[in-house]
């Protein structure tokens, strides 16, 4: 009897093992942690896809934000790509030109569920190179209590740059907090947050003809804004990226800062308002549109199945649930997203700014461009050079990169 039971158990184990071995693995690199609020949902979606495609098993590898993109690209460059990866859309052009990723084939109807401005972040040369996964617009968070304590009468928060400087000065001088939190570390969101202000001043880094236009009055004014705010920021802004400002805002150590919709989850129980990025002297409220995408690498051997998986995971219903769980600005138009502002008015500044937002400037060597712009921002913020000098120097360096 014992021998029979042992035989049956062994057969069952071997049976399961060989069934598992028969499945082809789809390896997907995801930025962040498995515990991030949207990720369990994503895994549920993948399981639903697996149920319809029993020949495949999806394996998620979670890699911290700082290194996940580099890991996926390094593997692909070395000829050992994962099936798919989460990726900042800014590198899609570089990946596509390097022949490392393959495009998606979407119908007109599917394309129509994306805002044009969103689609522009992943589409070039007539192809869609990644499916937008996370989308962010930015707004200004302002602490109502600190505004009141500083004697400021701005019921809707600052609406212009003049308001911002006035408020930052008043808060710094009349409360224990710094007026505004500015990220200025050697990190991507130093440039990103600054671009919000640039786009609210009608400026751009690269024009429609692909020319560098950094040495412009709009850019100089935006750099000067940082110079004007330098005395009212948190201590040592060069040590802060945007994520590090979140606890400062929650602790009421800064009166204002810019962030995406997820900032509402980290603001704690303070009394705060959210408003559009204030308008500059030469422009109107704007925002930087950033998408992160899921891309499919060439050469994994499971390209077709992965394209199908990613298309399924980013279908309107699944994507909408993913956006809401993660606090991302909705990417695709669904009933959920249409009702979003009515159900939660705090979404309004993040949603209404989408049509007028601007995409990230794209050069082949994106990181080098980011370094040049960050250097301009930091040198003005530390008072080393004037805004005019910083813009002129960066213009020259960016032109070299654009050759």
């Amino acid at each position: 009897m014992k021998a029979k039971a042992l035989f049956l158990a062994t057969t069952a184990v071997l049976g399961f093992a060989s069934a598992a071995a028969a499945q082809t693995e789809i390896h997907l690199i995801n930025c962040g942690a498995a515990a991030d609020p949207q990720n369990p949902l994503q895994e549920e979606h993948a399981k639903a896809w697996e149920a319809e495609n029993p020949d495949y098993s999806v394996v998620f590898e979670y890699v911290p934000w700082g290194s996940c993109q580099e890991r996926a690209i390094t593997l692909a460059s070395a000829g050992d790509p994962v099936a798919a990866s989460y990726m900042g859309s800014r590198v899609l052009k570089q990946l596509a030109e390097s022949d490392l990723i393959i495009p998606f084939d979407l119908t007109e109807e599917e394309l129509g569920t994306y805002e044009d401005s969103v689609l522009s972040t992943v589409m070039f040369d007539g192809e869609v190179w990644g499916l937008p996964r996370a989308f962010s617009t930015k707004a200004l968070y302002w602490n109502k209590g600190l505004f009141e304590e500083a004697g400021l009468d701005m019921p809707d928060g600052p609406q212009t740059w003049e308001d911002v400087v006035t408020a930052a000065k008043a808060i710094t001088e009349n409360t224990d907090a710094a007026g505004i939190g500015l990220p200025a570390a050697d990190f991507d969101n130093t440039m990103h947050e600054w671009l919000n202000w640039l786009y609210s001043n009608g400026g751009e880094v690269i024009n429609a003809d692909g020319e560098i236009v950094f040495d412009s009055p709009e850019v100089v004014e935006t750099l000067q804004l940082y110079g004007d705010l330098a005395d009212y920021t948190e201590e040592g802004p060069l040590a802060y990226d945007r994520g590090k400002l979140e606890p400062l805002f929650a602790e009421e150590a800064i009166g204002m800062y810019t962030n995406g919709g997820w900032g509402r989850n980290t603001a704690g129980d303070i009394d705060y308002g959210i408003t559009l990025i204030p308008s500059g002297p030469s422009g109107d409220h704007g925002t930087l549109l950033i998408t992160d995408s899921l891309v499919v690498f060439k050469g994994s051997g499971v390209e077709e199945a992965t394209l199908d998986l990613i298309t399924y995971m980013t279908a309107p219903e699944q994507q909408s649930a993913f956006d809401i769980a993660g606090g991302w600005t909705p990417i695709r138009q669904t009933m959920d997203t249409e009702n979003l502002v009515a159900e939660d008015p705090s979404w309004e500044p993040f949603v209404i700014s989408v049509p007028t937002g601007g995409p990230e400037p794209l050069l082949y060597d994106y990181v080098a461009m980011q370094d040049v712009i960050n250097e301009a921002i930091q040198s003005v913020l530390t008072g080393e050079v004037s805004a005019e000098e910083a813009a002129a120097e960066a213009q020259s360096e960016l032109e070299d990169l654009n050759e």
């Binding site: 580099e70 690209i73 390094t74 460059s77 570089q94 990946l95 030109e97 390097s98 022949d99 490392l100 570390a185 050697d186 990190f187 948190e234 201590e235 040592g236 802004p237 060069l238 040590a239 802060y240 606890p247 400062l248 602790e251 150590a253 060597d365 990181v367 080098a368 250097e375 930091q378 040198s379």
Partner: protein
């Protein structure tokens, strides 16, 4: 005619194959890559010494200067603190064994964990160091150590010293314990003070160990990546960008593999010089030992 015994050579084949696979071949590839314009693009070509010319046009001298400064400060402090620690641990005091255990944590705690703790302590708003300095009246408001070039540089050195000192101390302690006690006893009988005995007996006899440790420490510190990367990622504004950080940023963050390989070759040249000095020192010490 003498018959050649091939058997010993056969036994060497696995070790030889392993060395070729994990040392020689990657080294050769790095050299080869350094003469190409390899990037993310599938095609590449040989560009001669262009990468080497380019890196020296890119303020690389400043990176080299910073690297040697960082290494010198860090190694010097580690040797000073390590020697001081070894003397204390060698003292005949009750509970000496306990102190020898207590010095270990910085060395045995995973580096990333230790560095994250330091990163929090350096934080101006919530960090302990800024808080204590404010309470003592040394500074008016919060000081963000990692935001300014000089303080960030100092912060990375201090963290590296904290992690590296226990090993130096234990190594020098072992050297001190090998000194015959008769020498100290004789000097003590002659009325030599504690400091005099240290200066004239301990220090000369542990000097070879100190030199060896300093060289090894220089090699490890020169190559140190994780401490700086976790604390500052080479910032602010390049003030903690050492050669290894610069190489990583070029090759991995910017995907300029050819240029990154050229930088890696420069590191290899520097480390080879250290290794040469180390081997020469070992050879001299070994000759002295057999003389």
């Amino acid at each position: 005619m003498k018959k050649i015994d091939y058997f010993p050579y056969l036994l060497l084949i696995p070790a030889f194959a392993l060395t070729v696979t994990i040392v020689a071949w990657p080294l050769f590839e790095t050299f080869r890559l350094s003469f190409t314009n390899a990037s993310m693009r599938p095609s590449w070509k040989y560009v001669g010494i262009d990468n080497y010319v380019e890196i020296f046009e890119d303020d690389f001298w400043e990176v080299i200067r910073l690297t040697f400064l960082w290494m010198t400060c860090s190694v010097a402090l580690k040797i000073i603190c390590g020697t001081f620690g070894a003397v204390l641990l060698n003292a005949a005091i009750p509970g000496r064994a306990l102190f020898r255990v207590l010095i270990m944590p910085p060395w045995i705690v995973p580096i990333a964990v230790g560095v994250f703790i330091w990163a929090w302590m350096y934080n101006g708003q919530f960090g302990m160091i800024s808080g204590v300095m404010q309470r003592l009246g040394l500074i008016d408001g919060p000081l963000e150590f990692l935001a300014f070039g000089n303080t960030a540089f100092l912060a990375t050195v201090i963290t590296d010293v904290w992690i590296g000192t226990p090993m130096v101390a234990l190594y020098l302690l072992a050297a001190m314990q090998s000194i015959p006690t008769e020498l100290h006893e004789a000097a003590w009988t002659d009325g030599a003070s504690r400091f005099y005995r240290f200066r004239r007996i301990t220090l000369p006899l542990i000097a070879p160990a100190m030199a060896t440790m300093a060289l090894l420490s220089a090699i490890w510190t020169f190559n140190s990546f994780d401490i700086i990367w976790i604390l500052t990622e080479g910032g602010p504004r390049g003030s903690t960008t050492t050669m290894i950080i610069d190489t990583y940023k070029t090759a991995i963050s910017r995907f300029r593999y050819g240029e990154g390989a050229a930088r890696a070759v420069m590191i290899l040249i520097c480390l080879s010089a250290f290794a040469g000095v180390y081997l020469a020192l070992l050879s001299r010490l070994s000759k002295r030992g057999t003389a």
